[in-house]
Amino acid sequence: MNPNPYPKLHPGLNLGPAHGVAHEGSEAVLFGFWIFLMSDLIIFGILFATYAASTGPMAIAGGPRPTDLFDLVSVSIQTAFLLASSLTCGMAILAMKYGENVSRVKLWLVVTALLGAGFLTFELRDFASMMAHQGTPMRSAWLSSLYALVGLHGLHITMGLLWILTMLALIQVQRLSNKVKTRLLMFSLYWHFLDVIWIGIFSVVFLAGLV
């Protein structure tokens, strides 16, 4: 039922032949970026494995346990923020692909950034309250691996926000040039990828930790 039977160049949303050079030109760049993300995936994978191996009593070392620290309501709010931002990020890309509507692209990007910032706010608030209850990364191996994993994801989100701001400035100067289009596609891969990682985090860390 997919109505666009042109050959895809890479996984992810393709610009489509209407975009000519930008469509073709994005091929190698996006493929390369996929490879990079896969490398990043391995980094997260190792941290996940380390986390999973650090949940026993020895790793908790008499310090606070998941039930003492986690705030499920906050986690669900963060999840909602991130999922919504994934959707708005997709809308930004569609606005670029169809109609090349600069102000709509910008609007959706701003909304995405705000949702991302909302996510970060709640995450940092959680970190602060955990630390207030002795849940610092220096307290135990379990907490070290927790902060490393969740913190790295948060760091990625922060970089994503910086990236959105850069894209907004870039669009301001160069409009939707071919290069800008490719970069937006790259950004969207990055942002969706972070949402996928977050699924792992809320399932493995927070839900499995509390159940």
Partner: protein, 691 residues
């Protein structure tokens, strides 16, 4: 003060140490430090004297040309090789006198094996391999450059930043004594409070990120930038091995980035990943490190295997035997090498079943490697063989590498490993695979491709002598270590008390001197060949009757590689054209070519990363923040650059290419008998040998 200079003060140089506590050991350290300082000053003076600053900046440091970046990698690798070999010789010299106490402190010996191992693996073997991939892959697949030329610069910059940190550590402060693996808790802050492990961490982490980016770049290039008709199964074997190595880099570098940064978190912020207390688990460090460490040796070995494939085919004038099996074996090695990492810590205490699983996987990996050796031998069979320098290395490789591989299979058996773990048997084993496979492979590659890069051959007579010296020196240095290992001599020990070790240690010490000679001979060969470059010139580009695409263009290869992108319709593309009888055709028309513009991006990131690493090591926080901030600013600024390419007009290309074609048509080709004579101008004539 301490907020301005962190842990830095006037007492951290080996000079003050040697002044305050003179001893042979501290004098050796001061000597090494002065070599770095004197070398750097001499370099600055020479550059100024010959007015080379501008060309250096314009043609090299800011160049995005994959060939130049590759050459810079190789130069980096050779410089670091010199340091690594000297350190090896000093260690061997020390142990040769160690029954009488030797001349180094054990602290100093510890620094030496740590820097030696780190340098040899990460700053010699990696730069050489990555350098060759950089240079050769685009030429073999008919591309004008890497998929991401500027990213390529950045990779080089980050690798160089790691090397800079290692060099600086000779002059300011002390390096780690924790071995190239840097196992905690010994390298944790409780047992090693100094700056040593921090130098190790940042050198490894920064250069590791550079290698990851190289892997991304190579894989994207090979997948997306091949000339029309160059299907995967038509790619030359070096490119195949490069592809597999690139993919391995993408998956194998993240572990070491993670493990070293986790160690950094432990040391800097008091985390508890690998500490003795509060739940830390140092066994996880060994686990993560070797997830990188083992694949790493195959990342290095595979491209060397690729060189062997090219060398064997070219110098026997035959198409490679068993192309398909070589490709499959390469892929098999790439995947299986991710399933064996536990063999580095069989003795850590896990159940027998775990050990057995990884032991079996380790033995299995020998099978595809064996397939390759047979394929190469079958390639030589009834070929038109010329015993050139690369072929001598190949023969040395055949014999020595098989021995090294077999001792590897022996070590793959956990019960045997329990006996020889941490002895010199292991040291003998890994030198026995790394030197004949990787180092000989790279030296063979230098001889083989040098003419393509610089337009003249390396002298054959000197080259052959060098190869013999390497082979003999290797045997003398490392075969005794097998014996010592079986006698029970532990690795990483500065001294020993058992007199029966001594004869073997002396032989190894003598061997190290032969290796040192071999290294000097490499430089002599290059120097001599530069001097007589007119006699050795091969401007027409095909000195060895090459089979693959890179030999179809002039030497040195022009900036744009191919005047027009070739169309490929077979394996051994250039050979096929030669067999058809018309390899050099003037293209019907020329087009303008867009090439990446020179940029200082990579250089800026190199400086920023070096400074950041240094500031982190010495806890100079303001400098850390400042240099770290440069990185996002540079990346963002780069996004706003509009013109990243420059056009080379068709007329200029036509002019250069036609001149070369005319030279080809007016020159007499040489047969393989004359390969090593001044008559060889780089044009091959058919010589009736077996096809």
């Amino acid at each position: 003060m301490s907020s301005l200079f962190g842990r830095l003060n006037g007492d951290v140089t080996p000079f003050t140490e040697a002044f305050n506590h003179p001893s042979v050991s501290s004098l050796v350290a001061a000597g090494a430090a002065s070599m770095v300082v004197v070398g750097a000053v001499a370099l600055l003076i020479l550059l100024t004297w010959f007015r080379l600053w501008k060309p250096l900046w314009r043609d090299w440091l800011t160049s995005a040309d994959h060939k130049k970046i590759g050459i810079m990698y190789i130069v980096l690798g050779l410089v670091m090789l010199a340091r690594g070999v000297i350190e090896g010789v000093v260690m061997r010299g020390h142990q040769a006198t160690a029954l009488q106490g030797g001349f180094l402190s054990s602290e100093h010996y510890g620094e030496l094996f740590t820097t030696h191992g780190t340098i040899m693996v990460l700053f010699v073997a990696v730069p050489l391999v990555v350098g060759f991939i950089n240079i050769i892959v685009p030429l073999q697949i008919g591309a004008r450059d890497m998929a991401f030329p500027v990213l390529n610069q950045v990779s080089l910059g980050l690798t160089a930043a790691g090397a800079v940190l290692l060099m600086v550590s000779l002059v300011i402060g002390k390096f780690s004594t924790g071995g190239w693996t840097s196992y905690p808790p010994y390298t944790g802050v409780v047992f090693s409070p100094g700056v040593g492990p921090d130098y190790w961490i940042w050198a490894v982490a920064i250069s590791g990120i550079g290698s990851t980016l190289s892997g991304v770049n190579f894989a994207a290039t090979i997948y997306k930038c091949r000339a029309p008709g160059m299907s995967l199964m038509r790619m030359p074997l070096f490119t195949w091995t490069a592809l597999c190595a690139a993919i391995m880099l993408v998956y194998a570098m993240p572990p070491v980035t993670v493990s070293s940064l986790m160690l950094a978190l432990d040391r800097y912020l008091g985390f508890h990943f690998f500490t003795n207390d509060l739940g830390g688990n140092m066994m996880n460090y060994a686990n993560i490190f070797w997830m990188f460490g083992h694949p790493e040796v195959y990342i290095l070995a595979l491209p060397a295997y690729g060189v062997w494939s090219e060398v064997a085919a070219t110098f026997s004038a035959k198409t490679i035997y068993g192309y398909d099996s070589l490709v499959i074996a390469t892929m098999a090695i790439a995947v299986i090498s991710f399933t064996v990492w536990l063999h580095h810590f069989f003795t850590m205490g896990q159940s027998t079943s775990v050990n057995i699983a990884f032991g079996i996987a380790t033995m299995i990996i020998a099978v595809p490697t064996g397939v390759k050796v047979y394929d190469w031998m079958a390639t030589l069979w009834r070929g038109r063989i010329r015993m050139t320098t690369p072929m001598i290395y190949l023969i040395g490789f055949f014999i020595l590498f098989v021995i090294g591989g077999l001792t590897g299979v022996i070590l793959a058996n956990p019960t045997i490993d329990y006996q020889v773990h941490n002895t010199l048997f292991l040291v003998a084993h890994f030198h026995n695979v790394l030197i004949p496979a990787v180092l000989f492979g790279m030296l063979a590659g230098i001889h083989y491709w040098f003419p393509k890069l610089f337009g003249f051959r390396l002298d054959e007579r000197l080259g052959r002598w060098t190869a013999y010296l390497w082979i003999v020196g290797f045997c003398l240095t490392f075969i005794p270590l097998y014996v010592l290992g079986l006698m029970g001599m532990p690795r990483r020990m500065a001294t020993f008390t058992n007199p029966s070790y001594e004869p073997w240690v002396l032989i190894a010490g003598f061997g190290a001197l032969v290796v040192l000679m071999a290294l000097i001979m490499v430089l002599v060969t290059i120097g001599y060949s530069i001097r007589y470059r007119d006699k050795l010139a091969v401007p027409l580009g095909d000195p060895w009757d090459g089979r693959t695409l890179e030999w179809a263009i002039p030497a040195p290869a022009p900036a744009w590689n191919f005047a027009v992108i070739p169309k490929i319709n077979s394996r051994d593309a250039f050979s096929t054209e030669k067999e058809k009888g018309n390899p050099y055709v003037r293209p019907q028309s020329y087009d303008d070519i867009a090439m990446p513009k020179a940029t200082a991006h990579g250089f800026i990131l190199c400086v920023a990363a070096s400074v950041m690493g240094f500031a982190l090591v010495w806890h100079i926080w303001w400098l850390t923040a400042l240099s770290f901030a440069v990185i996002p600013v540079a990346l963002i600024a780069r996004a706003f650059v509009r013109e990243t390419e420059q056009l080379i007009p068709a007329a200029e290309i036509a002019h250069a290419h036609d001149a070369w074609l005319n030279a080809v048509w007016s020159t007499r080709g040489v047969t393989r008998d004359e390969e090593d004579s001044p008559a060889n101008r780089g044009l091959a004539a058919p010589d009736g040998g077996p096809a």
